[in-house]
């Protein structure tokens, strides 16, 4: 069996490993549950001189991008991977040292750089106790030389939760994977959305053994197979392979529409109150935007409609005690939806601060993947008001049951009473909901409640 051997993990020296004089730079572990990353760009090649702080390479997880800086100076003695390779975390990516220094023993696999195929062909990779001492000679990824046995119950359970049972380390007799092992894997991993489960099952894709926030999508064959393809063109057009993130977005958006019963209701809210609050905030030097106020109103509305603050899980609904608010953020890499957990605990200023933090983290690529999982949020707000959009149909981030689209504010005539009509600013609200989970009536009542909250928002600024 092909695969990586001699993988290392040094808890004390997470990103650097010293062996003789040369220093290996590993693929960092970003986020609790990330198993591997894509090497998106090599900023330095073999032979280049590097100084401390130079960017060595860029890499991304399923939704976030990162850059790895040099922590030692020297020459790049070897690079083991190509751009586009999927590299398990904690594996050596390149070596920095003095010219002519030996790099023996630093290669991920006895001298031969691992290939994409090697990654592809290791379906039974298991992360074993990453806290082991660096000196431990045995490989930390356990490869079962025989097909690992999985009990029927464990198999059924794993299938239900989209866990790759064969990749687990079995605790049953002879290493048989038993239900306990799958249960442990389930509890160790964030919940997997029904959509992701379906995709994994349909696509024959493997969920990561320890689970990463995105329900095994990091393991999709597309992720690893297409990354290295160069752009091609015929002069009239250019064929540009999709980035992994684009693919993920494409897949989840398409799957969302395919796998749920979505429709959108539009409704306007009198924006005078909210605009006034924005003015007050500004006057007081507070960075509270219209969007922050809308999100705050939404949190209040959600507290009154628990069935909307929920996940639809096929044969059950998961109602959340707190509001984990997702916010669609447009970034250079594409759409990202970070979550602010327990948003209902926050004041409007607190919420504003948290929303800005996560949005910024998305833009810089430093967001924790754990905060990007669709299952992490209980409801999402997508605000296109800044772009002047007057009406749109946002796509639900499954397994959430609804998403609110916030539109631009336009003046609309309003009956002010006594036969007096005037133009007042109205904010368009577009609620897409999953009709499997909600009926039109309650969706409408919820949308109306958002409008009421916006119109009557009572906060101290």
């Amino acid at each position: 069996m092909k695969g990586f051997k001699g993988l290392h993990n040094n808890k004390k020296n997470k990103h650097i490993k010293k062996r003789n004089m040369a220093t290996a730079v590993i693929m960092p572990k970003q986020g609790q549950s990330v198993e591997s990353c894509i090497l998106t760009e090599l900023k330095k090649k073999k032979g280049d001189k590097v100084a401390i702080g130079d960017v060595l390479f860029a890499y991304e997880t399923d939704k976030a991008s990162f850059e790895e800086e040099a922590k030692v100076a020297g020459e790049i003695l070897e690079v083991f991977f190509n751009e586009g390779d999927e590299i398990p975390v904690l594996v050596n990516v390149l070596v920095i040292g003095e010219p002519g220094e030996s790099i023996e023993g630093l290669s991920p696999e006895a001298g031969a750089p691992a290939t994409v195929e090697a990654v592809e062909e290791k379906p039974q990779t298991t992360i074993a106790a990453p806290q082991q001492e660096a000196a431990a000679p045995q490989p930390q990824i356990a490869y079962s030389s025989t097909a690992s046995a999985v009990s029927p119950r464990a198999r059924a359970l794993a299938d239900k939760h989209a866990i790759d049972a064969a990749a687990l380390k079995g605790s049953g007799p002879g290493g048989r994977v038993i239900a306990d092992d799958v249960e442990a894997a389930i509890s160790a991993s964030p919940r997997t959305t029904p959509l992701a489960k379906a995709m994994i099952k349909e696509g024959g894709l493997h969920a990561p053994a320890t689970g990463d926030g995105l329900a095994g999508m990091v393991r999709s064959s597309g992720l690893s197979a297409t990354a290295a393809q160069p752009a091609m063109g015929d002069g009239d057009s250019v064929v540009k392979p999709l980035t992994n993130m684009r693919k993920l977005i494409a897949r989840s958006m398409h799957a969302s529409l395919q796998n749920s019963a979505q429709l959108t209701h539009h409704l306007g809210a009198d924006a005078r109150r909210i605009m006034e609050l924005r003015k007050v905030a500004k006057a007081n030097g507070l960075n509270v935007t219209i969007n922050d106020l809308v999100c705050f109103a939404v949190v209040w509305a959600l507290k009154q409609f628990p069935q909307v603050n929920a996940h639809f899980e096929g044969d059950s609904m998961r109602l959340f005690n707190h509001v984990h608010l997702g916010l669609a953020v447009d970034t250079d890499r594409g759409l990202m939806v970070p979550v602010v957990r327990d948003a209902d605990y926050l004041s409007v200023q607190g919420l504003a601060t948290r929303l800005k933090e996560v949005a910024e983290a998305c833009k810089t690529g430093s967001i924790s993947p754990d905060l990007l999982s669709p299952a992490a949020a209980s409801f999402t707000v997508s605000n296109l008001g800044n772009y002047g959009v007057e009406m749109f149909t946002p796509v639900i981030n499954l397994p959430q049951v609804a998403i609110l689209g916030v539109n631009t504010i336009v003046p609309r005539p309003k009956d002010l009473g006594g036969g007096v009509y005037a133009f007042v600013p109205y904010m368009g609200l577009s609620l897409t909901y999953d009709h499997r989970a909600l009926d039109g009536g309650e969706a409408t009542r919820f949308l109306k409640q958002i409008a009421i909250e916006i119109e009557n928002l009572n906060v101290e600024l």
């Binding site: 029927p152 119950r153 464990a154 007799p173 048989r176 239900a179």
Partner: protein, 824 residues
């Protein structure tokens, strides 16, 4: 061992000798004319004897033609089934049947066509037209008689003869219109309305069953005698000898009281055709020279044995007239050695290579029908023309019957394509019947005066008393009390109920289950049998066939081998093989031993569970024992009721409120959750339940594993649903019992659970049975029977490793393979 019978050493040690009376051989010396002159027969009777012999001869000739030439009178027919023909033996059969009335029953062998026709023809002669019409029209709602009625305009008696021939022939040809719906066939066909009880394909099979029928007649005060028609070679069979010992027990004349005093109304009629298949019983395979000699070894009356010339119907009739009288005086049983000869081979495939042509020709020259016909002519009773006319009429009738019986439209076979489960529905009768008798049950005192009943009344019916303190052994209501309560209740409800076995009276059964019943019941309802398990079970079968309920007991499970044919071939088969005409309300009590080594400690539930047609239960709590015994005694099916000697004293620790005092039934086939748990299921059969409970305790305390324990209670039938429900929860299952593992019913459970619950399984179902070797002495039993530690070790090795557990027994795959290779 009744105390009433004092064994005086002076008497039994005194010098003396055993003397025998001469056994008459072919003593009859009259002829037709003399009998007619003595007015022992009417002319018509004498002619009818001829006719009846001709009917049998032609019936067998027809079947012989079908088997050897593929047709009869030019009409082709293939009969793949057996045909053990009795051409040559007609005088013996007709003579045997002549004196019998409808109250007299005959049982037969594989070669009994002649006997059933003879008895049937005799019954038709004795019955009025109205009675015959009723019998025929009631039988299968007229389905059988309707076939022969069509286009027939003769008398009722003539119709009845056609009905008899057709019913038997259609049965032989496996037609649904046959006497037993085609399910019995040539070797089993019978017709109880004419007093014809089952024939038996097992040599000597009727030897004990017929004795049981005689017991039924005696105990239930029914008129008539019972004949077992057996071949001469079957005298070698142990069960036949056991039947004889049972039939000749001294207690019938010495201990049974009042009108019950007297010998059994039983005749062992040896149809001595002098061959057992190809073996010659006189001179080769037996040593008795004259089969009648056997009677001299049975009892002082020598069973009134004599040899009779079975080639002369009048000689046989003469013998029966005399023997019937003895039986009516209560001097049975009787043994008759009726000498005869069969012309055909054992079966049509037999080339008779073991006998000479000269021998066969000589017997044919002395043919019983020809010789008797000559006597009729000599006595002036009939002319040759008259005899020829009889032949012609019979042949015509036989040909008509043959054509009807092979007509697929008139005589269809059971449609098992359309009703594929039909035989399944016929396997058990599943009836609920309070009593098989209208009589008032004979008991010695009101139930509440019974000393055992009084004793039990003072017992605590749960393992702890009201304060939750453990009950002392003396005050504890035990498992044996549960069985007793069910039994005594039924004895007071059903007058037909009898129970017997070894040490059942006085001693109260070897395990004290029946203590108190001796006081409650007269001898004829509870008695000691010979130590002869084949007769204990065999007689019970005959008793039940006649319509009585019976509880035979064979003490140790290990003795099942001693009644193998009765338990495996007779008990389970007769309900279906009779076309559901018979019921089999028998509860066979079998006790699984312990402490007594290799031949007294085996759990053979698997053996009986393997045989279709038996219900098999193994209750191990007082509540279950009483409820299942009540259900068994209320039913109409054979139940093998297993008990465990390890736990006769155990108290009820599961059923809330203890064992109810009143009547209740526990349905067969429902396993019972004895301990709730969530991590592993342990399914047990028998007393292993208590070892599993110990294991569960240790699992909980040491390994934090919560075990759910299910007691199978029944093996056949068995409802898998509660087990699967448990499995859904736990995903793991150990199946355990005291039976040796190889071929154990545990494996059957495991296989079905695997198939039905595959996706719930977190590990293969693991079987923990006894080792495949002898049961050692009690002190060494831990090395044989599953121990709590074995269950834990098996879980650790095969299901889920238990942290820190160090196994003491070897459940590894390698060991499993090694053992199988070694055959242990």
């Amino acid at each position: 061992m009744p105390k009433a019978q004092f064994i005086d050493p002076a008497k039994v040690r005194a010098k003396g000798e055993v003397t025998f009376s001469p056994i008459p051989v072919n003593a009859y010396d009259k002829n037709v004319k003399e009998e007619l002159d003595a007015k022992n027969f009417t002319k018509e009777d004498l002619v009818r004897i001829y006719r009846d012999m001709v009917v049998i001869r032609e019936f067998e000739t027809m079947l012989h033609a079908v088997k050897t030439t593929g047709g009869y009178n030019g009409v082709e027919y293939n009969n793949p089934g057996p045909a053990h023909l009795s051409a040559g033996q007609e005088a013996a059969a007709v003579g045997m049947a002549y004196t019998l009335t409808l109250d007299d029953y005959i049982f037969g062998s594989h070669r009994s066509h002649g006997e059933i026709l003879a008895k049937g023809l005799r019954s038709i002669e004795q019955l009025s037209d109205a009675e015959l019409d009723k019998i025929m029209n009631d039988f299968w709602n007229g389905a059988t008689v309707n076939v022969v009625k069509k286009n027939f305009s003769g008398s009722t008696k003539e119709l009845a003869i056609r009905f008899l021939l057709y019913g038997a022939l259609a049965e032989i040809f496996a037609r649904e219109t046959g006497f037993n719906k085609g399910l019995g066939g040539s070797m089993h066909t019978f017709f109880t309305p004419f007093g014809i009880y089952p024939n038996n394909a097992i040599v000597g099979g009727s030897g004990s069953i017929a004795v049981g029928a005689a017991l039924y007649k005696k105990v239930n005060r029914k008129k008539g005698l019972v004949i077992a028609n057996l071949g001469d070679a079957s005298m070698a069979c142990g069960p036949v000898w056991e039947g004889l010992t049972f039939a000749a027990m001294d207690q019938f004349t010495q201990l049974w009281e009042g009108d019950m005093k007297g010998g059994l109304p039983f005749v062992l009629n040896i149809m001595n055709n002098q061959y057992g298949m190809g073996g010659q019983t006189c001179g080769e395979t037996m040593g008795y020279e004259v089969a009648a000699r056997i009677g001299a070894g049975v009892n002082p009356q020598q069973m009134h044995a004599e040899r009779v010339d079975g080639y002369n119907p009048l000689a046989v009739i003469d013998a029966y007239r005399r023997k019937k009288e003895l039986i009516e005086k209560g001097e049975g049983p009787v043994l008759l050695d009726v000498l005869t000869y069969r012309y055909s081979g054992h079966s049509p495939s037999d080339a008779s290579s073991y006998r000479t042509k000269e021998e066969m020709e000589l017997w044919e020259a002395n043919d019983c029908i020809v010789a008797y016909g000559k006597e009729l002519i000599e006595a002036g009773i009939a002319k040759q023309d008259d005899l020829d006319a009889i032949w012609k009429e019979i042949k015509d009738t036989m040909f008509d019957t043959f054509k009807l019986a092979i007509d697929d439209e008139l005589s269809p076979r059971m449609d098992l394509k359309k009703n594929p489960e039909l035989l399944g529905t016929m396997t058990f009768s599943n009836e609920s019947i309070d009593s098989f008798s209208d009589a008032t049950p004979e008991v010695n005192h009101p139930m509440e005066e019974n000393p055992r009943v009084k004793q039990i009344a003072g017992k605590v019916r749960f393992v702890t008393d009201k304060e939750g303190k453990p009950v002392s052994k003396m005050k504890q209501y035990q498992l044996r009390d549960g069985i007793f309560e069910a039994l005594i209740d039924r004895f007071y409800k059903d007058a037909s109920l009898v129970a017997y076995g070894e040490e059942n009276r006085d001693w109260g059964g070897a395990f004290a289950v029946y203590r108190g019943l001796t006081e409650a019941l007269p001898y004829h309802r509870l008695f000691n049998s010979p130590i002869a398990e084949a007769s204990i079970v065999g007689t019970a079968i005959g008793y039940a066939m006649c319509g009585g309920r019976v509880v035979p007991e064979i003490m140790y499970c290990d003795f099942l081998g001693r009644c193998g044919d009765e338990v495996f071939n007779q008990l389970p088969k007769w309900q279906a093989m009779s076309g559901n005409l018979l019921k089999m309300p028998i509860v066979l009590r079998v006790s699984v031993g312990s402490k007594y080594g290799a031949q007294h400690s085996q759990d053979w539930t698997s053996l009986v569970a393997h045989i279709p047609g038996l219900k098999v239960v193994f209750p191990v709590t007082p509540y279950d024992a009483k409820g299942l015994m009540n259900a068994a005694l209320q039913g109409s099916d054979p139940v093998v009721f297993f008990e465990s000697q390890r736990i006769y004293e155990i108290g009820e620790m599961f059923h809330e409120g203890g064992v109810p005092e009143g009547y209740y039934e526990i349905p067969f086939g429902e396993p019972d959750v004895k301990r709730a748990g969530k991590d592993i299921t342990i399914l047990t059969i028998g007393a292993t339940l208590y070892r599993a409970l110990d294991a569960a305790k240790e699992l909980e305390e040491k390994y934090g594993m919560s075990a759910e324990i299910i007691d199978a209670r029944s093996l056949v039938p068995f409802n898998y649903e509660p087990v699967l429900e448990s499995l859904k929860k736990t995903g793991r299952i150990v199946i355990a019992s005291d039976a040796s593992t190889r071929g154990s019913f545990l494996n059957d459970l495991a296989r079905n659970i695997t198939e039905l619950g595959f996706d719930y399984l977190d590990a293969p179902p693991v079987v923990v049975g006894s080792r495949n070797w002898i049961t050692p002495a009690y002190e060494l039993e831990d090395a044989f029977f599953p121990q709590p530690s074995w269950i834990i070790d098996a879980i650790h090795e095969k299901i889920v490793p238990l942290k820190g557990h160090v196994p003491t027994s070897n459940f590894t795959d390698a060991e499993q393979i090694r053992r199988a290779k070694a055959g242990i």
